[in-house]
């Protein structure tokens, strides 16, 4: 049995070697298909990070009149905190608001100079309200709007939901396009592998005739061609792993610049999940290749 296995591997490698250019084309198509699939995954991870980043930023600012005293503000804070849709409320005092403003404009000396010339603190205290979930955002806005209090100066609701929906739509569209592209590549892979095996069988037609003649089993004759599909998969997955990690290393700095302050580490994601990501891809592609090889073997190597 071991001898059979060794010889099947040897014959399979011979099939690949004797049609080396066709084998290379097959592997390149396979790598392109896998690259598309992995890019799809990257888009999914980036999309997810973008959505999480925006969710983190979703809040409602309730600006308080500067004349309001601390007790009144804390009482309002307590009222708001009691709302079921609220995750937390942060009180930003007038002094803190000024500090925050200065920090965010630290690189703009003209603004800081104007502030100094003003002589007083022009900022207003505020309550920063963060919702428990995005689904309850509309309810929360309605309740905050309905809340009457003399110390409330104004309310600021940026419409993050629209932005989130847009990101979700874009991510979904990219994912769908990627899915379509992956589908096309998988279809092309099936055709190319089918053709490679067909050509390999044609190249070996004399050997096949002799093998049949001298009593080789059907299993022994056909298995090398099925194994070729698996060998293409091993090469394809190895190459994509070799290419994809350097690609992610190049991409990572751009992502970090874009998502400042957020944890978006594609490299560690792909390292951490490597066995699942590439394991599943190996199984999927091997299955596709075996099916393609099986179709070709059935049609062209009647034993």
């Amino acid at each position: 049995m071991f001898l059979y296995f060794i010889r099947i591997i040897k014959f399979s490698l011979q099939d690949i070697g004797r049609n080396i250019w066709l084998s290379l084309v097959t592997i390149i198509i396979l790598v392109l298909a896998l690259f598309t699939v992995n890019m799809l995954l990257v888009v999914k991870v980036i999309g997810g990070t973008a959505v999480d980043a925006i969710k983190e930023k979703i809040d409602i600012n309730l600006f308080i009149k500067p004349s309001a005293n601390e007790d009144e503000i804390l009482a309002l804070k307590a009222r708001v905190s009691q709302l079921g849709e609220v995750r937390d409320v942060i009180y930003v005092s007038q002094a803190e608001a000024l500090e925050n403003f200065k920090m965010s404009h630290a690189d703009n000396p003209e603004i800081l100079e104007s502030l100094r010339e003003l002589g007083t603190n022009p900022m207003t205290p505020s309550l920063v309200i963060r919702p428990k979930s995005l689904d309850e955002f509309d309810n929360l806005i309605n309740k905050i709007n309905a809340m009457e209090d003399e110390i409330i100066e104004s309310r600021n609701f940026s419409n993050y939901k629209v932005m989130l929906n847009k990101i979700n739509t874009i991510t979904e569209k990219v994912a769908n396009a990627g899915l379509l592209l992956s589908g096309i590549f998988i279809f092309i892979t099936i055709l190319v592998v089918y053709n490679s095996v067909r050509v390999a069988i044609y190249t070996h037609r004399r050997e096949i005739v002799i093998m049949r003649l001298v009593g080789a089993s059907r299993w022994f004759i056909q298995t090398p061609y099925l194994l070729s599909g698996v060998i293409y998969t091993i090469f394809g997955i190895s190459i994509i792993m070799g290419l994809f990690y350097p690609f992610l290393t190049l991409l990572q700095p751009y992502l970090e610049t874009f998502f400042v302050g957020y944890n978006v580490n594609l490299i560690s994601y792909f390292y951490g999940q490597a066995h699942i990501i590439f394991g599943l891809q190996f199984l999927g592609v091997a299955l596709v290749n075996i099916i393609a090889s099986q179709l070709a073997v059935r049609k062209y190597s009647r034993v």
Binding site: L3, V214, R218
Partner: protein
């Protein structure tokens, strides 16, 4: 029209039989039925006591290891040496390397190719290529050897040598069925001759001649 019709032949173990007839009369079809390549609609085929009339796909390799077959076009692999061509038959059937190293030179010696084992088919004569094909057919120690027009591509000297080799193999106890339309060879053999015409056995003589 039937390729073979009302063919009733019994070949005894150890016999040397010539199957003759003109081209397209059904000789090769008969050989194909004996190795499970073609199925018959009616009747029965028994090889070495084994009824192969409805032989299954899985059993065909077992049958073929018991029947050696050689053809007019030798069917050798051009990129393999003669030794490798013969060894190939054992390799694809799971033969152990040690056994291959032992048996192949022995069989090559029987067919007279022991000094040309490392030559490629293109480097030897047609007769030597046919000898290599015979060696390949013999590595499984078959009980029966089917030779389908083995001298068709050879000059008379080489053809004579191949027939001599088949006779020697027959002497060792292997049943030989020689399919040919070479009148001279058949007449010189003075062995059993079965003549086929239009898919039917028209003559079956114990010591026959090419009559058609």
């Amino acid at each position: 029209m039937k390729a073979l019709d009302r063919v009733n032949i019994h070949i005894k173990p150890g016999e040397f039989v010539s199957l003759v007839g003109q081209s397209g009369t059904g000789k090769t079809t008969l050989v194909k039925t004996l190795i499970g390549e073609e199925k018959i609609d009616q009747g029965k085929i028994v090889v070495g006591g084994w009824d192969i009339t409805n032989i299954g796909q899985r059993e065909i390799p077992v049958l073929r290891r018991q029947i050696g077959v050689i053809f007019q076009d030798f069917k050798l692999l051009p990129k393999k040496t003669l030794f490798e061509n013969v060894a190939f038959a054992m390799q694809v059937c799971g033969g152990h390397p040690g056994k291959i190293k032992r048996i192949v030179p022995h069989v090559m010696k029987i067919v007279g190719l022991n000094n040309k084992m490392n030559r490629y088919p293109r480097e030897v004569s047609g007769g030597e290529q046919q000898r290599a094909a015979i060696a390949r057919a013999l590595v499984h120690r078959p009980k029966i050897l089917l030779a389908d027009e083995p001298t068709g591509n050879l000059d008379s000297l080489n053809a004579h040598e191949i027939i001599e080799l088949l006779l020697r193999i027959n002497k060792f106890g292997t049943t030989v069925l020689l399919v040919t339309h070479n009148r001279e060879i058949v007449n010189r053999l003075r062995r059993r001759v079965i003549t086929i015409d239009n898919g039917q056995v028209v003559i079956d003589q114990e010591v026959g001649k090419y009559i058609l």
